[in-house]
Symmetry: C2
Subunit: 223 residues, 2 copies
């Protein structure tokens, strides 16, 4: 009889699933290529037939994460009635994902190539694009409904993303001292506050600039 099995059915996927599970358990620091192989029941070098390197596998995990994130946001925002409400819920979905899979989020965002290599980066950016588009579309819808000021939606989207991402990261790190549920409630209130500030600009523009040239200039020139 033949001693070894060789040929695994869809090993690539098996490895990916094992990797996702392992990341969830031990985080990026404890993550090891050999352990993934072990869990998939193959030799320590089998993964190299499907992934270029450890980082390449991690990148695949990140990609999977962005898909999950996109789904989560879409599912969470669905029940919202008004555009602005859907926008808020979209942010809540982001944080909900983060609190549910903190290690996954870390892989998605903190796997960055230390020296900003603009070559490789492109593909990684592209991965998260769909998730960002969900947010961007919510912003556009809110603009169309008159809930947010018209104009380039990008700055608004990036600001909203920043707020939500910050809550997610700090929440994960325990810096907010809130559990998952409370963190999401907090996100909802924070989003309302931010969007309130954005909306303000169309109604009361004058108030935004107390002293047109004071520290405003300083911040651009001195830093």
């Amino acid at each position: 009889m033949p001693a070894k099995t060789y040929h695994h059915p869809d090993l690539r996927n098996t490895l990916l699933e094992a990797a996702v599970a392992l990341i969830g358990e031990v985080g990026p620091r404890g993550f090891t290529l050999r352990e993934v192989a072990r869990r998939a029941g193959v030799s320590h070098n089998a993964p190299y037939r499907h992934f270029d390197s450890r980082d390449d596998l991690l990148l695949a995990v990140a990609l999977e994460g962005f898909e999950r994130l996109t789904e989560r946001m879409q599912k969470t925002l669905a029940p919202g009635k008004t555009p602005i409400e859907r926008l808020e819920l979209c942010g809540c979905g982001y944080v909900d994902f983060a609190m549910g899979w903190p290690n996954h989020l870390q892989v998605m965002f903190d796997l960055a190539p230390a020296p900003h290599t603009h070559g490789q980066r492109q593909s990684h950016d592209h991965v998260g694009e769909n998730a960002f588009l969900v947010l961007l579309n919510c912003i556009k819808a809110a603009q169309a409904a008159g809930d947010l000021p018209a104009g380039d939606p990008m700055p608004l989207a990036l600001t909203a993303w920043s707020l939500v991402h910050g809550i997610a990261k700090l929440g994960i790190g325990g810096n907010l001292q809130l559990d998952r549920k409370a963190t999401i409630a907090f996100t909802h209130r924070a989003a309302q506050t931010l969007f309130g500030g954005m909306a303000k600009k169309i109604t009361t523009v004058a108030e935004s600039r107390p002293a047109p040239g004071a520290a405003h200039a300083k911040v651009k020139n001195e830093l």
Copy 2:
């Protein structure tokens, strides 16, 4: 003559400085205890006399980072005239630090113990406390000046921190597609928007709640 030197003057500090420099160059992933030792001109095991482990050294690096961050924020906010302006500048200082020492920030926040061990964590939290207090005091001053609504300043501070931290992390990761200067300018505008939204609550409260029970309840029960 004696062949070896032994006894190093203040090796602990030398190691720390080497570690900080190394982190700046190669990031947490490329960081290696042995390379630190090499740069300090000692054997690969010398660091163990001053730090329990690799992670312990990294923690010291993080601590050093929080001190720098605190200084940076204080220095940046100083020229601000009004409380609200100082608050904005405080956030800009945070982002400025992040863009200047991205790897350092990563060590400070993403070194987290994957499973939330509430034992060890305490000390790490304590480290960043001073930096947070700078922000908190700015918030309180703005409240006292009537620029922000009175009441518990914590939610306001945490929201502001989240926004700024999010900008910092996304900026570092290249997700904002802005250089350091533009990122800080962006931070300034985002902060103005957020604080505008916070201030709004004291003047026009009614508008904040479009549909008191719609998806609001959903977000608390379903997630």
